[in-house]
Structures are given as structure tokens and as C-alpha cells.
Amino acid sequence: MLLRRLPILLACFLSCADIVCGQDVPSVSGPAVSVPAESLVDFENDIQPILTKFGCNSGPCHGKARGQGGFQLSLLGFDSQQDHDAITKEGRGRRVFAGAPEQSLLVAKPTGLVPHGGGRRLEPGGSEAAALLQWIRQGSPRRAPAAPQLQSIQVSPAAITLAAQQTQQLTVTASYSDGTTRDITSLSAFQSNEAPIAGVTDGGLITAGGITGEAAIMARFLGRIAVCEVLIPRQQSVPSGVYAGLPRNNFIDPHVWSRLQRLNIVPSVVCDDHTFLRRAYTDIIGRIPTFEEVAAFLGDSAGDRRARLVDHLLQQPEFADFWANKWVDLLRPNPYRVGIKAVFNYDHWIRQSFHDRKPWDQFVRELITARGSTFRNGAVTLFRDRREPEEVATLVSRLFVGVRLECAKCHHHPFEVWGQDDFYSFAAWFAQIGRKGTGLSPPISGSEEFFFAGARGSVKHPVTGEVMTPRPLFGEAPAADSVEDSREALATWLTSPQNHLFSQVMANRVWADLMGRGLVDPVDDFRGTNPASNPPLLQSLGEHFRDSGFSLQELVRAITNSHVYQLSSLPNETNSGDTRSFSRHYRHRQRAEVLLDSVVQITGIPQDFQAMPPDSSSRQIWTHRTESVFLDTFGRPDPNQDPPCERTGESTVVQSLHLMNSEKLYSDVVSDRGLAKQLADGGRSADELSVELYRRIFSRDPVTEERELVRGLLEAEGAVRRQVLEDLIWAMLNSAEFAIQD
């Protein structure tokens, strides 16, 4: 459920206004905003904070896309010009009325003198109402003469270490262009990125929870954001010699150890060889090892056997299919909408790129600058699927720079610097894609379509109508008109060694795949208010990836060779609550394809997938439309969903029921062509059979009790050898040890 963390925070954020909205409450308490009687009131500095503090411009009220009751403000007051216009120029002059300020709807509504759908928000005669009146009396200026500009906000303290349950009040200060400062704590909104670790009240009071860890508390005021970093270490300190003595396989380990040292957490011990073996196989090539592969590894006593295993796995073709399978989830559209041939070719292009070990920068460049026919170059299907510049822009920013720009399409991003200008300037990179041929005509959409560098087309700002010039989200890009196809300039910016986000986002995704959680989580939500749990590690990882020539194998190699990757999942007395700092391996349920391919490997009965050659693995399926109750049950994405979605690794009762009762699995286990029959016929001893089963299904040798269990069952009176084996296979496939990666 951690994936949902951001939404929960958002919920708190927007719903405080939601709760109040519509009820008749006297006013929101909190320190008053007061303006000295004689001074000039400034819209931006004085009025906007009131509108924000009292929820007027929040999502459920006037801040929503079409406003409320015909009165629309920009969400959370990001656009003062629009808001000033809405107040002073719209509403037929009734919102502000300098002749009789008290009759202005801006005051009369929120104070309840005129019926207001949002109830009474301000105290009549209170200091906020007085400030509004004074501003109206002064002619409702956009800027008061010589009004200083808000320059920045600071939160104090900016970093703090707290003990469990300890509290700390934050202070937020605004700095203005005239050198003045102002305490804006009561006007700021606060939010924690890890509420269980450190929560924060509306008034800015932090309370440490009972969990060891780090949290970032965001303070927001008029679109400015400041962050306080909170560290809550374990109470009992750990002698520093413990950390000095830890293994350092490569650059990853010291970064993790230093974070753990700050938190007084000791990492778990290193995992067993057989645990590493299964972990490495399922993580790197997406299946469990075979009997022979288990035997080979467990028989290897050389000191570098783990590193050699990683090298070996990275050479397997399955590596490419497995990692391509993750990316097709994110890119590949629904063939019923986009066309079978176009989607098939797209899948093939993605897959082949992984087989070719294409450097990541090249992959991304080829994708976003793709041209040609959907029948010849699968990569162009991206543009067949995402037909509007806005649609491509959101995908590219999210997948390759980890920026969720979607919000900025309609309003300023509530937690970040991105506004509509940024969004539409970024979309403008894709404004001039030329196309020829037949577009979408679902459900077949079978025609060929061509994409090329066009000369026409523009992206306009939806509010101002201004034609946007292509602009990167940050940094410098070659001018769009300096190249034949403006997408080339974008690709140059995107994949430039200076674009740290480009390498970090991919490094973070791969880290999350191998370690069970991203350093930034969710993996595609990089922003100042959602900091990485270990920023120096993320930076090093990104640099390593970049310096290796954007090699996926090298990245996987570095992570899986680290000592951190090889830690046991079993906690010690210091780290059972750690779910963010990587002091132990985090278990997870294997993804659908890994489980199904492993079942096939164990039972020996292939799956018969539609539209796939015989003996295909589920990693190789080119569309989620290929029927498979097993894959659906274990959570592959809904093929109808648009856009495609990341999957979650949750377990469900439906999954348990499927492994328990599926007719297909049952018949595969008892099949005359299956494993049980094969083993039963082989004349093996009970001990040999137990080794066969445990190596094939759990990737390890049985311990003594397990050998005895198998022998006891086989030698019991009336035992039918094949039936005993079938029951054992079934029982093992239904065990957590099969489905959960340890």
C-alpha cells in the first residue's frame, strides 16, 4: 500500500478544506492575518494567503477546474493574475465594490452575510475580513505600490533529530525583495512524506512516531516550498566498530552502511547460498533455477561463486526477455485500439533492444525520435498510441525523468515547481510530428501509419493561447529549430550526461526491482518534497549507470554484487521495523510471469498461449490480451486499461484458491507426461527423490527432517509412490516458500 502514500497525503491535504466546505462553521481558527490600518494591502502578499489558508482556492471549492458557483480561482493560488482577474473583472463587478466594500461578495459571502455554499469561512469583523475590506477600499490593486516581491521561504529547523514521540514546532519565514521577513507559519500548509515516522499538524507541530527512520516535512506557502528533514534513530546506539567491520563489496555498501549508522540500525547477516541462488535467478532472468543449475551452484565452493553466477545469468537470453517484460508493461498499448501489427512490432522492438543490449540512452533516443512505418519500425507505435503532444509528454517525463507532469496539464502542480507553462512547453517538443496513413479505427486499427519530422503543428497554452516554444523541464537543450526534427534536440537534452535525473530514474527503477523498494518511492515521482531515502546512494548509482555507458547489465551486476543485495530477509533485534533503509532483504511475492514459468518448469507441462509459438514462456507474450487465468489471477495489468499501469505485488485469496484448486494445475501435476510420473518411474531412492523435489521446487537441498518426511510418506503402508510425489509437488507449490522471494 505504500504505493498509495502520495494519494493519502494528498487526501489529507485537500480534504481538510473538503470537510469544512459545505458546513456552516464560524471560521477556521488560527493566528489572524492582520494588516495595519493605514498600510497598503497587496493582493499577492496579503490577500492570496487568506484565500489559501481558508480553503477558498482548494480543489473541492473554487480551485477546481470549473470553479464553484461560477467563481474560479487557480488551484492553491498559483496564478495570482488569473485570480485577481477573477475577483476584480468577472462576476459583473459584484465581487469587489469599492463604493461599498462591505457589499462586495468577496467579503459578504465568506462572512456569511450573503448565503454561501461553502458556509461561513471568515469571522465578520475579524482581521482577515478587515484586510479584505481594506484592500477593496484601496481599489483592489493587483500590486500595491512598492509592494515587495516574495523571494523565498525558509523553514526552521531545516533538519532535526528526534526521539520517538518527541515533538518539534516548525517556524516558516517568508523573505521579501525589500529585505523584510515575515512569520508565515500560521499561513503555511504542512505535510509529511512519511506520516508514520513523523507526522505534522496543520499548525506545523511535528510529532515523531514510534518507527525508526527519516521523513521530510514540507511547508508550502503561495507556491513556495521548504522542507525540514527529520531523523528518528533507534534509541540504543551501536558501536561504530560494527559498521567499520561490515563488508564493502562495491560502492553501494558504504552508502547503505552510513545511513544505517545514522539510524543505529545493524544490517542482517548475509543470506544462505541457496537463498541467493533463487533470488538471483528470479530477479535477473525471471525464473527459478533447474535441478542441474541448483546442483552446479551448490557444488561450487569457489569464493567468487556468487559473482560468477551473476555474470552467467546476465549472459542468458532470458535476461533480455524478463527485463523487456517489465518495460512492455509500461509502454505497450492495447492492440484492440492501436492495432495488432503495430503493437506486435512495438513489443518486438522493445524486446529486441534488450536482446541487443542496447544502451539505455540509445533506447530512449530511438524511441522518442522514432520515424517510419508502424509495419517496419515498432518504435513509432509510441506515436500511433499517444497521438497528442500532451500524451507523449506526460509519458516521457514520467518514465524517463521521473517527473509527473500530468497535474500541470490543468493546473500548477500542487507540490512542485511545474506549471502549465512548463507542461505545454515540454509538450511542444512533439508538436510537429508528421503522420501519414490511416490512424486508429478500433477494434482492428489494422492499417499502416507513417511518422516523420513534420513542419506544421504547434502546442498552445490552454489559457493564454500562446504558441509554446519547446523547452526542457530544466537545464539547456539545443534549440528546436537547430535540428531537422525537434525531437532530436529533446533526446540530446534527455540523455545528456548532465541530466542526472535521466540516469537516476532508471537506476532507481532497477534498484526497486531488485531490492523490493525504490530509493525514491513511488519510482516515477521524483521531486523535492519526495526525497530519496538515501540521496548519496541514488547519486552514485546514477553516475555508475551513466559512466558504464547506460548499461542495464552493468547496473544489475553492481546491485546484485553488493553485500546489501545479499543480506538475509530475517531481521535482527535492531531492524525488523526497517522497510526503507535496506538493512535486510525485503521479501516480495514473485510476479505473475515468474510464478507461471516456474510452474511450467517444475511440472514439465508447457502452457499453450494463444498467438505464441509452442513452448513460449509467459515472459515472451507480446500482449496482455493473450488469455491466461493464471497471469490474470496473479495481477498482470488489465489489458483494457489505458494508459497501462504498474502492477502491484499484493497477494489475494483468489491467488491462494487458484494454486489450491485450479483444474489446470491439478492436471499438470498428475499428468502422465509430468514430473511426478517421471520421478516415480525412475527407480530412485526416497532420499534421491527428496533431493529431486527440493532442488526443483525450492532450489535447495532438503534438510534432514525433510528427507525423513519424504521417506516416511513413501514408505508408509499402502503408499502409492506416484501419488505421494504428486501430493508433495502440490503441497510445495502451495507453500509460501514457492511464491514468496526470500
Partner: protein
Amino acid sequence: MSVMRRCDGVTRRNAVQVGLGGMLGTGLASGLRAMAESRKPAGPAAKATSCILIWMDGGPTHFETFDPKPDAPAEYRGDFADIATAVSGVGYSEHMVKLAAGLNDYAMIRSIRHDQGNHGAGNHYMMTGAPPRIPVGCGAFVSFHPSMGSVAARELGRDNGLPAYFSMPQMSRSGGPNFLGARYAPFVAGDDPNSKGFKVRDVALPRDLSELRFTSRTELRAKVDRMVRLQDEAAGDPAAAYDEYYRQGFSLVTSVQAQQAFDIHQEPDAVRDRYGRNSFGQRCLLSRRLVEAGVPFVTVYDGGWDHHSDLFGALRKRLPEWDNSVATLIQDLKERGLLESTLVVALGEFGRTPKISTLSGSNTPGRDHWANAMSVLMAGGGTPGGTVVGATDRKGYSAVDRVLSPENFVSTVYHKLGIDPDKVVYSPEGRPTHLVSDPTPIRELI
């Protein structure tokens, strides 16, 4: 994701202990039912704890069903006569005999309209309450917003071992969970309950496996599953969650009562005959059994209502059976005292063109897609029987009286299930999204 913790701070373990513990004395099925009834809805005053959605895929004609136009010219009126219903002044088309007689037990809405005249878009709009975000084509299978079934599964589902959302025999195009996540996808029970060997997949033992052997296998599983479980709940061990689900699944499989709920063959022949010995009728019956067991949402997918041609010939054969099955479902629920707690709705993606047409290449007349008018049946969950909401014009072109939207319809379903249609859910981008953009339910039906 390696770590799972429920947002509300309740661990699954707790929820399950409460759930299963309370059931042991009374037997699972009744326990499940009791649990279903004890659900405390968070939103509006709920009447219904379950919903059966009869999805007439393709877009059923409103003329030949619930909104005949006997006074219209022949090229509008069609071949069928109209008949009186239990409500004076309200007529149905001639084959809806039993539903006409039973109108006092349910309501009919004749004035829902929208502007999505193709299957993909219409399905999405009616199934989710949200129009597709971008234009989609007729054959599209798209999902931009969670379906009613997935929302109900999320809001009303309990960790009691039962899938919370069934769809039979297939999922409808837009009937998925979208961003709510695969956990709320429908449990698709294919196969034909009218066939001899029918069973709901996965909820019962494989055909050839004896119960004795299953029990010994389960004991064996306990012995071979030696993976260490992490005791500290803060560790978020997925193996622990796995165990809980296994236990729930095991309870479901070993409970005689629960198995009976899924086993349509337990039903007396007379009841099976009454529902009609056809796939649709038996699915209606099975949906009743599932609701009895406490499943919050069941979609009975009924395809083939896209009558561009052979409208009258096809419907002459089909409507009597359909009429019988739906009328029987409502009547049976009522007799069992389940109609108050079970909402039944029947609809498709839109209505059909007023003027009868014969498409080129066809030699039999039909009607084409028409989103300006449609008829929707709603029963149970406190729906006042005998109510007819709204009306279309004289030729059935358009809803003219009490014009309602898909949003109003979906809001009504949510309202009756105790789900606040104005509830804000969050997309993966963190964007707050209302379940329904216009959360106004149809007041006549509340």
C-alpha cells in the same frame, strides 16, 4: 512492492481473525452473510449490501422492451404490440409479460441519455459513470476509471475468503478496476451453469481430487512450508499475508455451506426450471446464490443485444426467456427477503434508433445505436416498486421528461450500496478524482 500495510492501520491479520472467528459456530455461508449484513456503510444510508448487474451487452432496444411507442408510425413502432403493466398508464412491449406484471416490485427509468454512441464508449460510461477521457472507437475495450463492481469490491469487500466481485461468464469491456488495482478486478467465472458438470472455478476442489486426499495434502503443506515467518508486524512480511489468504481459501473450500453456495446443483429442480434452463437464467440463479453467500457485486454479462438486423426475429426467441429469468430473479429475491438488501439493475450501453433500418447487405430490419434514450431497470435496495422515472418523446427519440445522465444512474447505485458517490479516490499520479463527477442520485428511487 515488498511491503504491504493497510492504510487504515488495521492489519489483515486482525480483520481476518475477527471475521473467521465469528463464523465458526454458525457455518461459513451464514457467517459470511451475517458479516455482509453487519457491514456498516460509511456513506449515505445504505439499503443494499449487494448488487446484481445484468449487463445487456450491445445496447438493448428500448422500443421492444420497456418503452414501446404504440402511437408512433409503423416505421418507428416496429412489429411488436404493447401490453399493459401492473402500473396503469404504463405499457411494455409484448414479450415482457412477467416483468410487466411485476412492475410493482421494481422501478423503470426511461430517461437516461448520454452522447456516446459506440459500444466501447457507451460501455465505459454506463459501467463507470465517467465518459471515456479521449474519444474511443466502437470496438474499443478501454478503462479510464474504476467500474462500479471494482468500487463496490473495494468499499464493501471483506477479507472473508470470498471474491468480492464476480463477473460471469466474462468481464465486460470497462468492468475493471483501473487505478484501484488488480485486487479489485472481477473474479471471472466462465463456463456455463446450465451445463451438467458446471462449477465455479477455483473455489472447489479439482474434480478428481478426493476430499480425503485434499486434507492430507493440506497437512502435508503445513509440514513442507518451513519458510520462517517474520513475527514483527512492522516487518510487513508477505509470507504472513500469504498465510492469511491461504487460511481463508482453505476455509472456503472446506466449508460445506460455502461450497453449497457455489454449487448450483444444490438448487431444487423446480427452482432451476423457474429461472429457465438456459445459460442466462442459470447465471441469474447463481448470482442469487452468490449474493446469499455475501458477495457484494455480481455482473451477469449477457451478450448479443446489438440488433442491427433481424431485430424482431431474434427478440421473439430471446425476450420471453429473458423476461422470465429477470422477473424470476426479482421475485425469488423478494420471496427470500433478500430484495431489500440486494440491488438488481439491468441495462446496456445505450438504446436503439427510433426508425427501423435495414443496413446494406442485410435483408432483415434492425435498429442501430442510439444514446439519446435508453431504459434501465432497477429493483431492490429500497427502490420504490412501480415507479417509472422520466419519459421519452412520442417517437422514442430522446429522453424529454426528467432527463438523467449515466452519472445520476451510477450515483444511485453507489448511494444504495452506501458508497458516497462524491468520494475522492486517487489516481496513481496522485490526482484526486471523484467516484462520480455529478454525485446526484435519482431522487425518485431513493
